[in-house]
Every structure is written in C-alpha cells, then in structure tokens.
C-alpha cells in the first residue's frame, strides 16, 4: 500500500473510532442548521419570500452543504502546521522518505472523509426536517462530490497558509483569520450573490468560494456542472502551492539547520 493511501486509511479509521469528538461535531452541525434556519427564515420573510433567487428552502439546503464541507475539515490545521514547524517537530517528519505535506494532507483527507460522511447523513436528515425535500435531487447529487472537493481544497489551502511558518516560525491563532476567509469570501455564512457587487466579484476570484459556496450553490438547486470544474481547477492549484511551499520551506531548513 502506498504511504499516502495508508495515511488516508489511518486518518479515516482514527476518526471513526473517536465517537465522542464526532458526536460533538455533528451536534454542533445540527445546532448551526437550526440557528441558520431561524435566521434565513426571518430574512426571507422580511423580503417577500426570496433573496436574489434563493427561497427559504434553497437557502437551508445551501447552508447544509456549505457547513458540511467546512465542518469535515480540521479547523486548526494552519496553527498545527505552524506549531510543528516552529517547535522543530517537522524535522523528524522530514526523515521519512515521503512528502511531509503529502502525508499530512492524506491523513487529514481520511479524517475529513469520515466526518463528511457523517455530516452529510446527519445534516441531510436535519435539513430535510427543517426545509423539506431538496429543490433539485440532481443538483444535490452534484453537491455531494462538491463537498468532498471543497473539503480537499480547504485542506490544501490550510497547508499552503500554514507552510508560511517555515519563514515566520509562528502561526499561532492565525487559524482564526484563515477561518474567516472561508466564512465570508468563502460563502459559508452568506451566499456570494447577497454580497455587494464589488465584493462578490472579488470573492469569485479567490479560492475560498470553492470550499463552501460551490457545494452550497449546487445544493440550493443550481445544477451547474461547471461549478465542479471551478473547484477541481482551484484544488489542483492549491495542491501544487501547498507542496511547493513545503518543499521550499524544507530546503530552507536543510540549508539553515532545523
């Protein structure tokens, strides 16, 4: 078995055998869905039943997919990567004959798959109860792989950001800031169509929209396969950047000494 596949498998299994942590996350997801259902119901009611083409039910399915894609991913990877680099622990990982970033991302990918499966199941049921059936079954079918692509892009992006610690030697608490890039430019809290036009355009240029907005948009009923291509393109770019940042950072450590 390739080391990356083994890492992916290890990540998946280690998450499945920790039901307490999983239960907390799924409980949190349900609470988020209840809160967002209340918020968007009030917002749509105040605007004649629709916001930029989003109905109440469409918005709730949007929130479900966007949240599922984000909650599947470890939130503090940026900080953890920074700590490993800052503390020198990464030097031990560099002794292995595999890519440090590649193995890390494989492990986190396995973890994310386990959480995403649970989130789609639990969140899907909760959303069905809150909003009724999805606006489009076909679009929802496209949203499922989109959540996986979104989670993968998020993992790669966090490694690219965290890898900056090779130069700064500290990424403490910076995950707060990264997280907020997914919240608003990523469309997790509010669909991009509801933002002022200039901000919407800027957010569509950034990669964060592929992590939450795209799964949400698909689940809301817009069955546009081009959205998946948009995600796949950014995922490829982010993977190259993450691996490149780590490779350059590791070379720097090798030159300067860990």
């Amino acid at each position: 078995m390739s080391p990356y596949l083994a890492g992916f498998s290890r990540g998946f299994r280690s998450t499945v055998v920790a039901p307490g942590e999983m239960a907390v996350r799924m409980g949190f997801l349900v609470i988020v869905l209840v809160v967002m259902a209340a918020l968007w119901t009030a917002a749509v009611d105040a605007n004649g039943g629709s916001l930029e083409g989003y109905t109440r039910d469409g918005l709730l399915w949007y929130v479900f997919a966007a949240q599922a894609a984000v909650i599947a991913v470890r939130p503090r990877t940026v900080e953890e990567v920074g700590e490993e680099i800052g503390s020198g622990a990464v030097a031990v990982q560099m002794l292995r004959p595999v890519s440090v970033a590649g193995l890390r991302m494989a492990i986190e990918g396995g973890e994310a798959l386990a959480r995403l499966t649970a989130a789609l199941l639990v969140g899907g049921i909760a959303t069905w109860v809150l909003a009724g059936p999805p606006p489009s079954v076909g679009a929802l079918a496209l949203a499922v792989p989109a959540t996986a692509l979104g989670a993968a892009a998020n993992i790669a992006s966090q490694h690219a950001f965290g890898g900056v610690a090779f130069w700064l030697l500290d990424a403490k608490s910076s995950w707060f800031v990264y997280q907020k890039l997914v919240f608003i430019p990523g469309g997790m809290l509010i669909p991009l169509e509801l933002l002022p036009h200039g901000l919407e355009v800027a957010c569509r240029v950034l990669p964060f929209a592929t992590m939450a907005y795209v799964p949400g948009r698909l689940a809301s009923g817009d069955a546009d396969p081009a959205l998946l291509l948009w995600q796949a393109g950014w995922l490829a770019v982010l993977l190259v950047v993450a691996l490149g940042v780590f490779a350059a950072g590791q070379r720097r450590l090798e030159v300067l000494g860990g």
């Binding site: 907390v24 409980g27 918020l39």
Partner: protein, 255 residues
Amino acid sequence: MSAVAATLRTALADGWANRSSFGFQMLLMIVNDITWVLFWALFFNRVGTIRGWNPDDVYVLFSILLVSSGAALGLLANSRRIGQLAADGALDETLVLPVAALPHILTMRIDAALMGDLAFGPVLFLLAGHPTPERTALFVLGSLAGTVVLVGFLVATGALTLFVGGRGEQGDLGFNAILLFASYPLDIFGGATKVLLFTAVPAAFVTGLPARLVRDFDAATAALLLGMAAFFAVFGWAVFSLGLRRYSSGSVWMS
C-alpha cells in the same frame, strides 16, 4: 489579598509574561470579531430589518456577547475545561490546597486570545451602541449578568463529566450551543427553540435579554435576568460540588 484575587493576578502575570504573544493573540481575536461585525453589516445591508432588529441592536447584542465570553472564557478560562480537567485527574492539584476549589480552578488560567473579546466588546458598544449613561449602565449590568449565566452553565455542563464520565464532550457541545445561540437576535427564534433558549441552553440570559434591556429597559425583565444569574451561579456551584464527591484522584504521576 484574597486567595482568588491572588490566583487571578498570578494567571494574568503569567499570560502577560510573553507580551508579544499576548498582544498578537488579542489582535487576531479582534480581527476575528471585526469579521463578524462585517458579516452583520453585509447581512443587514441586503436583508434590512428583521423582526424588529436593526444593525445597531445586533451590534449591542454582539458587544454584550464579547464582554461576557471574554470574561467567562478569557479571564476565567477554565470555565469551559472543567470536564477535561476532571477526566485528566487534574483537579488533584487544587483539592490539596486550603482554598475553595471552584473559584481557584476558574481563576488559575487566562486565555490571551479571548481577552481580545473583552477588550473589543466595550469599544464596539461605544462606537455602535449609541451610549448614554443609562444605556451604558445597562450594558455593564447585562454583560455582568450574562457572564455569570455563561460561567454557571459551562461549569455545570462540564461538571456532568464527574457523573457520567467521558472527557467533557457534553460540555463542549453545551459550550458551542450557548455561544452560537447567543450570537443571534433572540426574536428570530420561535416555538421549541425559544423555549430551549430560556431553559436548557440559556443563551437568552447571556445576550438576548441584556440587549433587550439596553434597547428598552423594563424592571421585570431586569429582575428576571438578575434572578437567573443568581440561579446559574448557584446551579454551577451545586453541580460541581456534588460531582466532586464522586471524583477520585486521577493518580497522575508528576515529574
């Protein structure tokens, strides 16, 4: 100086020892808070007033939340870690001291990042809360009451670990639930959810009622808020004290 004040002073001095890190973490939390303010600005810009709540009302609610969570989770950082401390056997080091256990545990650690909330909350109120002497007094009163409710609730849910075991997962869920519900205007919720916010997850007493008081003072609401703050202070203390009777040493080997 009382033992509690001395413990808190030591915790503050410990956090302040690395000033650059302390300041950096506070700064990042303030950036985080500003992002939430931006979210509400964008939301209301597109949606308009919802169920009687306009942006300024929500900024007041958010500033109360920042002060309450900053005090409960920044100054009294262990309030959300009672379950984990119990599971790790880490209460031992407090139980051997000649001080009341709960106040000592609550004051022995601060969280620098969350002190950013405590700093930014009043600033947000001053900037967006239309402060008058009366509104400011109600803001302070509401924030204090909200802090007491939040700490009492977190201690109680964390202390459940002493009864049911685990590593405080129910405390984590309670923590996430109350902060999330407290972040949004009370009147968007209805039916069973609203009942929940006044009972099992008392987010209404952390931000909802305090914000309502700042907007429109009502003596009965103020009395209810203060009464619930007293109740949750006693409730948290009682659950922790009863749970402590079931606590057996973690037998943690220290080097």
